[in-house]
């Protein structure tokens, strides 16, 4: 009887939970399986740690891993740092605030690749910016800015594309704090910095964490910005996957990178969310 009941519950949960498990699980199982030698499209399938050993020993993978982690962390933090003051500014409606808000969120509508090409047009060696500066006589000859070694171009694009998203989340969260609560803090001697640190920041932590995590995961898996505007001497994880598979037909090697990319997304976002919480707590104490 109990067994039948349990079976019924399982059956009822299956359509919802089952779908989620299949969708997420299949990706993970596939990637991991491929990384240890299964699901071979060419040659024979069979268990082996060979591809892991090979990849982990190479420098290529670790450089990509570090690079993607760096781009993702910097982009997500910069986006949120930039979004906060704007969200505060838009907290109370004023003449033109609706328009300003809409304008600031416009990048959400522009596909990333389009933005990347536009950006390249502006900063390339014979691009708009260099031509203008030379024409104005500010510089003698064009400066090399495209595909810079530190990935600043990619970070710029990531922030340009993701800041509006952080803004969207933070504006809602900041607006939910009542004037009375902020006035009460003021009344008790809290200046604008203390109000931000002790009231606004702690009350917007969930929104900030959500923004950080989602931007981090997106930027960690970036392919298009990196392909168009990224440094040429290092690959992002996604780029490396495509390269390993494309150039060498290495599905198993790509699988290893895929598993590591997922690990980066998971542990990176957990670490970021945890650190945020910790930092805000510490900020309240000071």
């Amino acid at each position: 009887m109990r067994l039948r009941r349990a079976g019924l519950i399982l059956l009822l949960l299956l359509p919802g939970l089952g779908l989620i498990l299949v969708l997420i699980g299949s990706v993970i199982v596939m990637a991991f399986g491929q990384s240890v030698g299964y699901f071979a499209l060419t040659g024979e399938s069979g268990f082996s740690w060979e591809h892991w050993r090979e990849q982990l020993d190479g420098r290529l993978l670790w450089r990509s891993f570090q690079y993607s982690a760096y781009i993702a962390t910097t982009s997500s933090i910069l986006s949120v740092l930039l979004a906060y003051p704007i969200a505060m500014w838009l907290r109370r409606p004023f003449r033109g605030s609706l328009f300003a808000g809409a304008l600031l969120k416009a990048p959400l509508l522009v596909p990333g690749l389009v933005a990347a090409f536009l950006f390249i047009n502006v900063i390339s060696f014979h691009g708009f910016f260099n031509e203008l500066m030379v024409w104005l006589g500010i510089i003698d000859r064009p400066i090399r800015m495209q595909n810079d070694r530190n990935g600043y171009g990619v970070i710029f694009l990531q922030v340009w594309k993701n800041m509006p998203f952080a803004l969207l989340l933070l504006t809602g969260s900041v607006q939910a704090i009542s004037d009375d609560v902020l006035n009460a803090a003021r009344d008790m001697g809290a200046g604008s910095i203390a109000r931000f640190r002790k009231v606004i920041l702690p009350l917007t932590v969930p929104a900030m964490q959500a923004a950080l995590v989602i931007i981090f995961i997106g930027a960690a898996g970036d392919f298009s910005f990196q392909a168009v505007a990224g440094p040429t001497q290092v690959n992002s994880m996604a780029q490396l996957m495509v390269r390993l598979k494309g150039e060498f037909g290495g599905y198993h090697e790509a699988g290893v990178v895929a598993v590591l990319l997922m690990a980066l997304a998971l542990f990176g976002s957990v670490a970021l969310a945890g650190l945020t919480r910790f930092a805000v707590r510490a900020g309240m104490k000071v």
Binding site: S178, N183, A184, R186, D187, M188, G189, A190, L203
Partner: protein, 360 residues
């Protein structure tokens, strides 16, 4: 202690919420701002707290002009209508917020916290978050949080409006007790006239951004100067009168909707045509009133339209003898008379009051 001088506040949209309001409160006074919703009570409180800067006029505390000082630099603490507790801090952290912000030494801070927790009976709840508390408890946290700063002036914005009737009485008594104990000056906003009469040393009746009348509660109640005040505070019979003449001893003959009556007043009427009021409980039933006979000054005989038993008294609604469209109300402790009968009663001349001029 607190002086508000001729304050005007015009909002950005051009709305004038305060039109030359003045207020004086001495140390330890309990001053109430009473008026209907939208008359500018909160605006005035925010001007005193420093959340709003007046368009004209000044605010001074202890002789120092603070009109342009920010709230964090004024010796005031506000108790918000919405409580405005910090939702992410425990009860204790909420109460300690002000002292911490003002760098009060730890020993002193803890001493204040513990004393206040005892006073508002929240020791058992000090580690809870505000949303785990009932409305009355949240109100007490707000109170304790304001008092923890040892302010000279506490501003209350309708603190009881979110509480049920029974709790309201309890918190009302608590606020007065705390005020006596701490000796702060209280500026108390309410739209409830009973609350204002029960709690205050001094009442300012506000109307459309201006002070209509101010004085001790008894004075406001017994000697209203306008129909607005008479009607807003307690129940009142409002009549329009034409002054016929004076007998030389402060008694005026006045023709009203309930007949020609004598009005005994120290002050002459402001115009030949004035509003006149009297309280329903000031009527004295004439002997044998049920059948409509009786003698004496200002004897009125009027048909009873409705009779409402209220427990401690009975309210009779009557048609005014000279103009039945105007209703009169009489509160009596005898309740023999019925609808359709005639009620005979006196209104002592000194209970009739001259109000403002009748607008032509």
């Amino acid at each position: 202690m607190l002086r508000v001088d001729d304050v005007t506040k015009t909002f950005e949209d051009g709305f004038r919420a305060l039109k030359g309001v003045s207020l004086n409160a001495g140390r330890g006074d309990f001053v109430t701002l009473l008026g209907p919703s939208g008359c500018g009570k909160t605006t005035l409180l925010k001007v005193v707290a420093g959340f709003l800067t007046p368009t004209e006029g000044t605010v001074s505390i202890d002789g120092a002009d603070v009109t342009r000082e920010p709230p964090e630099r004024r010796d005031t603490a506000m108790c918000f209508q919405s409580y405005a507790l910090f939702p992410h801090m425990t009860v204790a952290q909420n109460i300690e917020f002000g002292p911490r912000q003002n760098r009060v030494a730890k020993d002193e801070r803890l001493a204040r916290l513990n004393a206040l927790l005892t006073q508002v009976d929240l020791e058992a709840h000090q580690h809870k978050l505000p949303n785990a508390l009932s409305g009355g408890q949240q109100q007490r946290v707000a109170l304790a949080r304001a008092l923890a700063m040892r302010p000279g002036i506490v501003l209350f914005d309708e603190p009881l409006s979110n509480l049920d009737a029974k709790l309201r009485d309890q918190v009302r008594i608590e606020i007065r007790a705390l005020q006596r104990e701490h000796g702060f000056t209280a500026i108390y906003v309410t739209h409830d006239q009973a609350e204002a009469l029960a709690m205050s040393d001094h009442v300012l009746v506000m109307r459309e951004g201006a002070v209509e009348q101010e004085g001790a509660p008894e004075e406001i109640y017994t000697a209203p100067r306008t129909s607005f005040v008479a009607d807003f505070i307690g129940a009142a019979n409002l009549l329009t009168g034409t002054v016929l003449g004076e007998d030389g001893q402060g008694r005026w003959q006045v023709q009203t909707e309930m007949g020609t009556v004598k009005v005994a007043s120290d002050e002459p009427p402001v115009a030949p045509s004035v509003h006149v009021s009297w309280r329903p409980e000031d009527a004295v039933l004439a002997n044998g009133s049920a059948n409509g006979s009786g003698t004496g000054e200002n004897l009125i005989q009027a048909p009873i339209v409705a009779r409402v038993y209220q427990g401690s008294f009975t309210e009779y609604v009557l048609d005014a003898p000279e103009r039945p469209a105007v209703s009169l109300r009489v509160h009596a402790t005898q309740f023999g008379a019925r609808e359709g009968e005639t009620l005979a009663f006196h209104v002592p001349p000194d209970r009739l009051r001259f109000l403002e001029q009748v607008a032509s």
